[in-house]
Symmetry: C2
Subunit: 379 residues, 2 copies
Amino acid sequence: MTAPERERLARAALNFVGEPGSVPLATEVAAKGGERAYDDLLAGRSLLSEDLALRAQRVDPVAELLRAAEQGIRFAVPGDDEWPAMLDDLAFADELQQRGGIPVGLWVRGPRRLDEMVQHAVAVVGSRAATSYGCQLAADIGAKVAAAGVTVVSGAAFGIDFHAHRGALTVDGPTVAVLAGGVDRAYPEKHAPLLEHIAHTGLLVSEAPLGAASMRVRFLARNRLIAALARGTVVVEAAVRSGALNTANWTAGLGRTLMGVPGPVNSAASEGVHQLIRSRGALLVTRPEEVLEAVGPMGSFMLREPRAAAHPRDLLPIADQQVLDAVPIAQPALTESVARIAGVHPRRTREALDRLLSAGLVECVSAGWRALRDTEAPG
Amino acid sequence: MTAPERERLARAALNFVGEPGSVPLATEVAAKGGERAYDDLLAGRSLLSEDLALRAQRVDPVAELLRAAEQGIRFAVPGDDEWPAMLDDLAFADELQQRGGIPVGLWVRGPRRLDEMVQHAVAVVGSRAATSYGCQLAADIGAKVAAAGVTVVSGAAFGIDFHAHRGALTVDGPTVAVLAGGVDRAYPEKHAPLLEHIAHTGLLVSEAPLGAASMRVRFLARNRLIAALARGTVVVEAAVRSGALNTANWTAGLGRTLMGVPGPVNSAASEGVHQLIRSRGALLVTRPEEVLEAVGPMGSFMLREPRAAAHPRDLLPIADQQVLDAVPIAQPALTESVARIAGVHPRRTREALDRLLSAGLVECVSAGWRALRDTEAPG
């Protein structure tokens, strides 16, 4: 199914005249639909600024869509099969971010269907000024999550974003880059090869029209889309002023799962993440499996908590464990004393001590029995 | 105020015949008081084991208390001013730990009053097999917390415990070591100088009678006292099998504040702590100030979240920020385009751009205005 062509053209025109994340425009379109919002704007019956009306008259949406199509770029709008229903949540998200609302449409470049790609998706974001620790983790999470069939959504920026996409690509996994500028432009320029690669295997998505440059307001608008296109967001590294925290705010505002990867407390690059875990209820995650468990379809990724390798003590019968626990660690004790403290009959204690001796868990010195070091005292 | 001498003698005797943390003994004493529990045991009217009754007949509590007093050691019991009321919470703590209950008494060695020392106290615990990262943090937390007048409670073990005590001692701050064996014995032996130091400036405390050796069951019993003698417990490092997790369980069971210091996710020594934060609701803490905020007397330690140094952008008037946000980061744009995207009148935009130019936040090239790198795009 595709949206009616007049609706698409109207929304394309509105997309050209309004800024990404413009709340008045989103509100108008939500109330009237694209076609009527556009007609009203052209006819001067709109509450939107006159400036917008003037520009609307100059835009030729048919030409714009054709120009895009020539570059393999489409403009997806509500009503298209491809339109992700999860974007609707943006209508209710807290608008404290200067930008907000459901986008009037999205410019999409790549061979895959957007709705399918983001059906199971997680955003992996973080600082541009990332450490090698963070970059390695981002790549590892990107790879393992994508290998499990979950799409990695990120912003193609330097640092964490880059490595998250790269991780997904190393396993030929699904990844979507949501850009602040046009999907026909490589920003940052150095990531042109990455973006080309993603355009051929995954998707590039942007709310900004073709040719649009990247600027701070558009990053703020873009971050809400990253949050909205994923079931949850993992912040891998973020200093206290990182833009990734803006994406985190959107994630929380949308009621999606917010996750953070901890790091050394003396690393400035982890400080923002630690704050998210401490004060914003972000879930601490340490491994890709924990990310999958948190955002995967219910029950599809069952996680086993990491446990230490079985300790020799755990393999003993309970009675032998009781005896072992009662053997002193430093100064040796006689069998009778061990029996008393263990609360086990002396004859059975003697038998247990023999087994513990064979197992190498205790030693017998002149003054009695002593536990060997590797039985490790608890605490 | 001190407890009646007969009650103290009865409890000292019971302490000698029962193991630390014996639940049947604690239950009996809670129901009858020390004196009657002891009399009943001697008269064979007790539900406690016959074995205990036999041993009770052999103990001479007067001699034991005298022997202790000669070494400067006292036996504190409920009714003494020194007895910390917070130990009463152990009557209600979940007894899943093999050991539990309010101790019948505590052997105390050192110049300070126990109740005063633990009035504002935090436990700082962790792995024996700690990393230098963990040891440094433990010392830092120990020092800063103690310098603020909050007592550092720990177990004098190798690794984190040692460095937590050491941190407190470096600032001549208050610290209490809770031992699994007798307070007259140095365990571990290598920590004899540390324990001597604490015995002269702080307190050594144990539920185990003089001369008692350290063994696994006694560590389990001891851990509940560490948790009970502090308002909260910070776990600095703990592998998934660390005994510090046992102390963490007691802390949670007692409804005290459980805290954990994160570390690199690839450090096995932080794995147990990450689990506590992930699954047990432990509060993530990264600095001593955060520990103080969590356990200090209400409102006494107000914490300011770390913030990045003020960014030049933050110092601008709002209108100038709006203009700056609309200046492209890569390709330059003309004033009119910046004005349109900023939603600011062209004349005012021109004035703002001039100010931004002087402030070094934008540059003017042949094709127009461009934001300079350090304005850092958000995300």
